[in-house]
């Protein structure tokens, strides 16, 4: 594991280190170059002390009742209870979708109630499981759109401490045979939203389905994300946070870092290792090690973002 005394750690090396260690690794981007350190070292503590952090949770699937986890509300509650134990109280939380399993109102209610226990401002984007009510998307928008003045199927943006956050929806109006989709209206809005922002503004895009093609055969990608990524390529630091695949995956391309989060409900198989992207059955004593939340840290100045994944076995 590379210590951060060096200024120019090889990007791939840092990334590989982080994935190998699994959890509990803090990594930062300094001027676009990732640096890593282990949680618990003094450097990590110093990092934790400055800037602000926010949480990403994803794929709570409240209403799911099968193996390997017939009680996703309980594991969501466990994940939320860990929020209080974090070394730095997060400024807010982002949920990257599939809040519910079947878009039922009691599922939304239960999720809201448990997530509310974190006492954090929470910003949502829907997953495809959140838009299957009778008038698709109505239940989701009724609950979450007004606060953020979301447009269309639920997209919006906000600023926190100089970082520009954009919540995007790539799970609505999906076409037969396709993957995720943003659509022309949302892309036009995004063009407008980013106009005039200085290239040194750190950007965080968050949406449910991954913005890079993790595995097309399972629909793990977004057909028109290239257009969105084109719009942000002029920025010095872009982070894309996604969910949907119920496992951690990372990719760095130029100034853009992509990260997908674990689910708090159930894991999914690695691409191509199972007949389909369904729930991956794991023994009960392993379940919590494959569910989790992650903390994203923003340092002021030239070191934008550090992402730390924690599984539910960690205190």
């Amino acid at each position: 594991m590379a210590k951060d005394e060096k200024d120019n750690v090889d990007r791939r090396g840092a990334l590989e280190c982080m994935i190998w260690a699994g959890t509990g690794v803090l990594w930062t981007l300094a001027g676009g170059v990732p640096r890593s350190s282990l949680l618990g070292t003094s450097e990590a503590k110093a990092q934790a002390a400055s800037g602000f952090t926010f949480l990403q949770i994803s794929d709570s699937h409240i209403g799911f009742k099968q193996a390997p986890n017939p009680n996703p509300l309980a594991t969501l509650e466990e994940a939320i209870s860990k929020v209080g134990a974090l070394p730095q109280t997060p400024a807010f939380m982002i949920h990257t979708g599939d809040i519910t399993h079947l878009s039922k109102s009691e599922e939304f209610d239960n999720a809201d109630q448990v997530i509310g226990k974190a006492k954090l401002d929470t910003f949502y984007v829907p997953g495809e499981h959140d838009l299957i009510d009778e008038n698709p998307g109505t239940a989701y928008l009724e609950r979450y759109a007004r606060r953020t003045q979301a447009k269309g199927t639920g997209w919006y943006s906000f600023d926190k401490n100089g970082v520009h956050f954009v919540g995007l929806v790539n799970v609505a109006n999906l076409k037969a045979g396709g993957m995720g989709s943003l659509g022309a209206e949302q892309l036009a809005w995004l063009t407008d939203d980013l106009k005039g922002k200085s290239a040194s503004t750190p950007i965080v895009l968050f949406a449910h389905i991954p913005f890079w093609t993790v595995y097309a055969e399972w629909g793990w990608g977004t057909d028109d994300s290239a257009q969105a990524l084109d719009l942000v390529k002029r920025f010095g630091s872009v982070t894309v946070l996604n969910g949907h695949i119920h496992q951690i995956m990372q990719k760095v391309e130029g100034t853009v870092t992509f990260h997908t989060a674990r689910s708090t409900a159930f894991p999914m198989p690695a691409p191509g290792t199972a007949p389909g992207p369904g729930p991956m059955k794991v023994p009960k004593d392993r379940l919590r090690s494959v569910l989790g939340i992650n903390t994203v840290e923003v340092k002021q100045g030239t070191q934008p973002l550090a992402i730390t994944d924690s599984d539910l076995t960690k205190v």
Partner: protein, 118 residues
């Protein structure tokens, strides 16, 4: 005796004819399809007009049966839930799952000809 016997035969024969006619004209055919491992099985169903297709979700994740042209759409089907649709017009109906749009299927409905009804 023989008259009684003849009457019984006639009655039985009549009943059999009624049954055959009834069976031939009463219930439309039903075809079953399954959804499993993120696939519609079979992915192409060919049926005569008037057939009811019944899909059952045998997968562990909800799916929908949603036609591309809007002719039919199920609510989300949880595991073991069923959706039926009776095809009373000929044509080719492509459909997919709204949650997992890579999942596709097709129902080919042959228009009825003459008096052939199954």
């Amino acid at each position: 005796m023989s008259l009684l016997r003849d009457s019984q035969c006639a009655f039985a024969a009549g009943a059999v004819v009624c049954c055959v006619v009834y069976a031939a004209t009463a219930l439309p055919a039903e075809t079953r399809a399954s959804i499993e491992n993120f696939m519609f099985k079979p992915d192409t169903i060919t049926v005569p007009v008037g057939t009811t297709v019944v899909w059952q979700n045998d997968d562990e994740i909800p799916h929908t049966v949603t036609s591309v042209d809007g002719t039919f759409h199920s609510s989300p089907l949880d595991t073991k839930d069923k959706f039926s649709f009776t095809f009373d017009k000929g044509g080719t109906f492509e459909y997919f799952c709204r949650l997992h749009p890579r999942m596709k299927g097709k129902v080919v409905v042959a228009a009825a000809n003459g008096g052939t009804v199954r």
